[in-house]
């Protein structure tokens, strides 16, 4: 059954090249109907390739003129003055906030997701397995704007205590310095919300992989006298590791690109705000920068600057997703 998170291990494990239906090459005799039908199917596939290619091409073609006029280093500058006549924009701030919020989210979501997946596949009583999986999947059904609203107005009001506690203990580290931003609108709050949003993705795929652990491996461990936890550590986790890595990457891709929840929660700083490493700071991610300035795309030059930011985001998620796929494909070879 297709799951709600849109990711699934099943299709990745048994590719068409392995367990596919018979070719029926004889059945496809070049009759008009066959030619039209197979042509349409192939055309749809090619259309998908074309779309993804065009996304890259269009963003690139519109970003290049703006990048050419950029008077500061695109990668290292923290400026973002797209109204200034010598165009000045750099992504250092955006990159830091994007990476930090996503990384913090993964620190929470990956261990929790593995725990939940192990619970559902190994520990839960049989009657609870289905409902438990559906409940966690339900988290993926909540729209991101509702996450944003809830994160800012409900969760955010409870973040003061946590933030104060962390600052008191770790305040001497740059990452934990007080930045004077309201606790509801910090990178940390965003990270917590992102963690909740990617949890169903990490859980769904990990769960599927854990459930596919060969029974013989598990029985062998138990027969050697392993406790259930030792069985999980020696049989289930090693088998599921590539799947978990892949699941985490997919979750990371989602966290990097999340737009609206971040836009709603994170307080955008003034352009003159000093650089800070702190997770209690505000700021903007690639996605929220674009969303916050959607009304400003009036000139091609300005739009180009945002296209450049979007292009970097596309590149980041592309790499992360490609790695996720490569990892699961290597496992496929291993299982065979």
């Amino acid at each position: 059954m297709p799951n709600i998170t849109g990711v699934s291990a099943v299709d990745k494990l048994s590719g068409p090249e392995r367990h596919g239906p018979p070719q029926g090459a004889r059945a496809s005799t070049g009759r008009l109907g066959d030619r039209i039908f197979s042509g349409t199917a192939r055309g749809a596939g090619i259309l998908v390739i074309a779309i993804v290619t065009l996304v890259g091409v269009f963003l690139l073609s519109q970003a290049i003129p703006a990048l050419a006029k950029d008077k500061v280093n695109f990668l290292t500058s923290t400026q973002w003055n797209v109204d200034a006549t010598p165009l000045q924009f750099g992504i250092a701030n955006l990159l830091w906030v994007t990476v930090l919020s996503s990384a913090l989210a993964m620190v929470v979501a990956v261990p929790l997701g593995i725990g939940v997946a192990l619970f559902i596949t190994q520990y839960a009583p049989r009657w609870l397995r289905g409902p438990a999986a559906s409940l966690v999947d339900l988290l993926a059904a909540v729209p991101s704007i509702v996450y944003g609203l809830w994160g800012l107005q409900v969760l955010g009001t409870h973040m003061d205590g946590i933030q104060g506690f962390l600052i008191k203990i770790f305040g001497w580290l740059p990452l934990f310095q007080d930045a004077g931003v309201a606790a509801a609108s910090t990178i940390l709050t965003v990270a917590v919300v992102l963690a909740i949003m990617v949890l169903p993705i990490v859980t769904a795929l990990s769960r599927e992989v854990f459930a596919q652990t060969p029974t013989t491996n598990m029985e062998a461990a138990l027969a050697l006298g392993a406790t259930r936890w030792e069985m999980i550590r020696t049989a289930v986790l090693p088998f599921g590791k590539p799947g978990v890595i892949s699941a985490s990457m997919l979750g990371l891709g989602r966290a990097l690109g999340e737009t609206v929840a971040v836009t709603v929660i994170l307080s955008a700083l003034a352009g003159s705000a000093p650089w800070s490493w702190s997770m209690f700071n505000g700021g903007e991610t690639f996605a929220s920068k674009i969303a916050n300035n959607a009304a400003e795309f009036d000139s091609p030059q300005k739009a180009g600057a945002f296209m450049a930011a979007g292009l970097v985001l596309f590149g980041l998620t592309f790499i992360v997703n490609a790695v996720a796929r490569a990892v699961i494909n290597r496992r496929k070879a291993f299982v065979e």
Partner: protein, 309 residues
Amino acid sequence: MTAADVTSDSNLAALRPPASNAGFSHRSRSRALRNHLARVVMWLAFLIALVPLVWILWSVVTKGGALLLNSTWWTNSQRGITNRMVGGGAAHAIEGTLIEALATAVMAVPVGVMTAIYLVEYGRGRLANIVSFTVDILTGIPSIVAALFIYAVWVTTFGFQRVGFAVCLALVLLMIPVIVRSTEEMLKLVHNDLREASYALGVPKWKTIARVVVPTAFSGIITGILLGLARIMGETAPLLILGPYTKDIATDIFGGLVPTLPTMINQDRTEVLQPAVDRVWGAAMTLILIILLLNIAGRLVSRLGAPKT
């Protein structure tokens, strides 16, 4: 689920030899303790995961539920309603959301289903691998990037205005991979015997697919479409970039103004006046309700009509 059978406690005791000295050391207290601890941690992980779900649903229901009980919520728009006034409804936004979703589905479903058919029934070799890879990339594409791309094509290149149809185009990009993946899974579940029987009767391949394979997997495909709809209805980023909000009813997807539930929430999310705040949560509740209904419908369809294999 057969793998899980061996882990139930009674079987576990039966499987474990009384004294083992191969592989694992004798069962000591620390090992038992660790085993117990692991069980507690897993239960805790699950309970922690439930906290945000319950908390979010609770917040939305308590803050926005009351408005939905009023029949005007479902019949009126926000026309002429200011932030200080109580009243008005979300009919314009509900209508807009449904229209957008429908228009998106009309474009995304044929492409998605045909791509899945290509991957499962025809695709071999290099091209199929590339298609499969790009579907993965499309799955991971952030909605804001899809919106930017459509902006670059629709507004910057062709010089059109921001309209509902452009939003649909961006949503198509997000819906296609969901449909491809779920349809693919369902087509793979169709037994090869059915295909072979059809070929043996001299039915051409395209007719086999259209009359045997797809009908067999039909309920699964419908489930995929419903889940795809659920996914795109909650998307907000393309609306922010391409679909200006209006308080009035606007059903023309080429008309420029696009009232939807996500943008209705977005519009007033910074308001502090109580009537506006209530409406924001009411819209959130309505949106969640619609998406939940779609999900439940999807599950029901897939349960009632599981592939006849």
